[in-house]
C-alpha cells in the first residue's frame, strides 16, 4: 500500500475516532446513568478502560513489528513499531493519569498496586527507554535495532511482571475493589463503554497510520535529498 493511501485511510479512521469520542463525551455527560455505588467519578472509566486497551494494543503492535524488524531488517517494520510506540506512550499516559484520579476518589489514594496499573507503569517506562535508546545512539541503524531489542525483551517480561504484581497485591490487601465492568453493568453503561472503545481504537489506528506514512515519507525524503547532493555528505 502506498503512503498516500495509508495517509487517506489514517485520516478517515482518525476522524471517525474523533467523532466517536465526541459522541462518548456527550453520552458520558448527559446520557449514561450515574453508577449508584461510586457516583459521578465512575464516568472516568469510559476514558480509562479504552485508554488501557489501546495502550496494550499499541505495545502488542510494537513487539510484533520489532520482532519483524530484527528478523527482516525491513524499514517498514521499524516505521510501524515507532508509530505504534508513540501512540502507546500517549495512551499509556492517559491510562496512568486517569486511573489514579479515579482511585483517589474511589479508593481514597492516588496510587494503588492494582496489577494492571502497575504493569502499565513498568511497561510505560520500558517504552520510554525504547525512545531514549533509539534517539541517543549515533548510528541510527543501531538505534533502531537496540530499540527493537528493548521492545521484545520488555514484552517477554510481561508474564513475570504480571505474576509479581498479582502476588504483591495478595500480600497487601488494598481498599475494596469495586469492579465497574461487572456482569451487572447497566446496558446504557455498556453501550457507552463500547462506543468509547471503538472511538479510542479508531483514533489510535488512524494516528498510527498517519504517523506510519509520515515516517515512511520522511525516510524516503532523506534518501532523495541525499541523492540530490551528488554523492554523499562528508
Amino acid at each position: 500500500m502506498g503512503s498516500t493511501r495509508v495517509r487517506t485511510t489514517g485520516l478517515l479512521l482518525a476522524w471517525a475516532g474523533i467523532a466517536a469520542i465526541l459522541l462518548v463525551h456527550w453520552m458520558v455527560a448527559f446520557w449514561v446513568p450515574t453508577e449508584a455505588a461510586q457516583g459521578v467519578v465512575q464516568r472516568i472509566f469510559y476514558v480509562h478502560v479504552p485508554a488501557a486497551w489501546t495502550t496494550f494494543l499499541a505495545f502488542g503492535i510494537v513487539a510484533l513489528a520489532s520482532a519483524a524488524y530484527l528478523w527482516l531488517e525491513d524499514e517498514r517494520a521499524d516505521a510501524a513499531a515507532v508509530a505504534a510506540a508513540e501512540g502507546g506512550l500517549i495512551y499509556g499516559a492517559i491510562m496512568l493519569i486517569s486511573g489514579p484520579l479515579w482511585g483517589r476518589i474511589a479508593w481514597g489514594t492516588y496510587w494503588t498496586w492494582e496489577p494492571r496499573l502497575t504493569l502499565t507503569l513498568l511497561l510505560w517506562f520500558t517504552y520510554l527507554g525504547y525512545f531514549l535508546i533509539r534517539g541517543s545512539v549515533a548510528d541510527p541503524r543501531r538505534g533502531k535495532r537496540f530499540a527493537a531489542v528493548v521492545a521484545i525483551v520488555g514484552s517477554l517480561n510481561i508474564p513475570l511482571i504480571h505474576v509479581s504484581v498479582s502476588w504483591f497485591r495478595s500480600l497487601h490487601p488494598g481498599p475494596v475493589v469495586i469492579k465497574p465492568e461487572g456482569p451487572t453493568l447497566h446496558p446504557d453503561m455498556l453501550t457507552t463503554l463500547l462506543v468509547s472503545l471503538a472511538g479510542f481504537t479508531l483514533l489510535f489506528l488512524g494516528l498510527f497510520a498517519l504517523r506510519y506514512s509520515i515516517e515512511l515519507v520522511g525516510r524516503r525524503q532523506a534518501r532523495v535529498e541525499d541523492a540530490a547532493l551528488a554523492g554523499g555528505v562528508s
Binding site: F146, V150, L160
Partner: protein, 226 residues
C-alpha cells in the same frame, strides 16, 4: 559446546583480572556498598521501623544499584582503547562473550551481595539472620538474573550518548519482578519461615535467571554487531 565454554571462561577470567588489577574501582565499589549500608542505618528511625522489617528490601536495592553501576564498567574496560572491537573480530561467538561477561559481572555481584548483607544487618542491628543456606538459595538465582540483565543492557548503553543514566531506565522495569520476588523471599528467610513458603519465590527467581541468560545469549549479537 566445549569451545563456547572455553571462550566464556577466557573472557570472564580476563575481565576479573582486569578488575582486580584496576584496584581503585573495586575499592570504590566496596566503599559504596558499605556507605550505603551505613546511610540506610543512619537515616532509618529504628524505633519506628525495626531493622528486621526492611533489611531484606534494602539489601536487594543496594545490590541492584551497585551491580548496574558495575555492568557499565565491565564494558568501559573493553572500550578503553577499542579492545572490544578486536575481541569481536576473533571467531568468538557472541553467546560466549555474553556468558563470559555475565559470569564476570556475577562474581563481582556476589562480592557486593555478601558485603551488603553484612553491612546492612550490622548497621540496621539485625541479629537473627535465619538460614544462611536459604539466603544463598535466594540470592543465587536473583543475582544471576540481575547480572545477565545488567550485562546485556550495559553493552547497549555504551553506545548511547546518555551513557550510565540510561541503564536504570532500561533495566529497572525489567528487574522489578526480581526485586519483588527476591526481597519477599529474603524477608521470609529472615523471619525463619519454613522453606515451603519460600520455594515458590525461588522457582520464580530461577525462571527469571534462566530466561534472562537465554534471551541475552540469543539476542546479544544484535547489540554487538553492526
Amino acid at each position: 559446546m566445549m569451545r563456547e565454554l572455553r571462550w566464556s571462561w577466557l573472557i570472564a577470567r580476563k575481565d576479573l583480572s582486569l578488575e582486580f588489577r584496576a584496584g581503585g574501582r573495586l575499592l570504590s565499589m566496596i566503599a559504596f556498598v558499605v556507605l550505603a549500608g551505613f546511610l540506610f542505618g543512619f537515616a532509618l528511625d529504628k524505633s519506628q521501623v525495626p531493622g528486621r522489617a526492611v533489611v531484606a528490601s534494602l539489601t536487594w536495592l543496594t545490590v541492584l544499584f551497585a551491580s548496574t553501576a558495575g555492568a557499565g564498567r565491565i564494558f568501559d574496560m573493553e572500550e578503553e582503547d577499542g579492545a572490544f572491537r578486536h575481541v569481536l573480530l576473533t571467531p568468538v561467538s557472541r553467546r560466549a562473550v555474553f556468558i563470559g561477561k555475565t559470569v564476570a559481572n556475577l562474581t563481582l555481584t556476589w562480592l557486593i551481595t555478601a558485603l551488603s548483607f553484612v553491612a546492612l544487618t550490622s548497621f540496621l542491628g539485625v541479629r537473627t539472620w535465619g538460614s544462611l543456606a536459604a539466603h544463598a538459595a535466594i540470592f543465587l538465582p536473583g543475582t544471576i538474573g540481575l547480572s545477565a540483565t545488567a550485562t546485556f543492557f550495559g553493552r547497549m548503553s555504551r553506545h548511547s550518548n546518555l551513557g550510565d543514566s540510561l541503564l536504570p531506565v532500561l533495566t529497572f522495569p525489567l528487574l522489578a519482578p526480581v526485586m519483588f520476588f527476591g526481597a519477599t523471599a529474603s524477608a521470609r528467610v529472615f523471619m525463619a519461615l519454613p522453606w515451603d513458603e519460600i520455594s515458590g519465590l525461588a522457582r520464580l527467581l530461577w525462571a527469571f535467571a534462566i530466561g534472562s541468560v537465554a534471551v541475552g545469549a540469543v539476542l546479544f549479537h544484535h547489540v554487538t554487531d553492526e
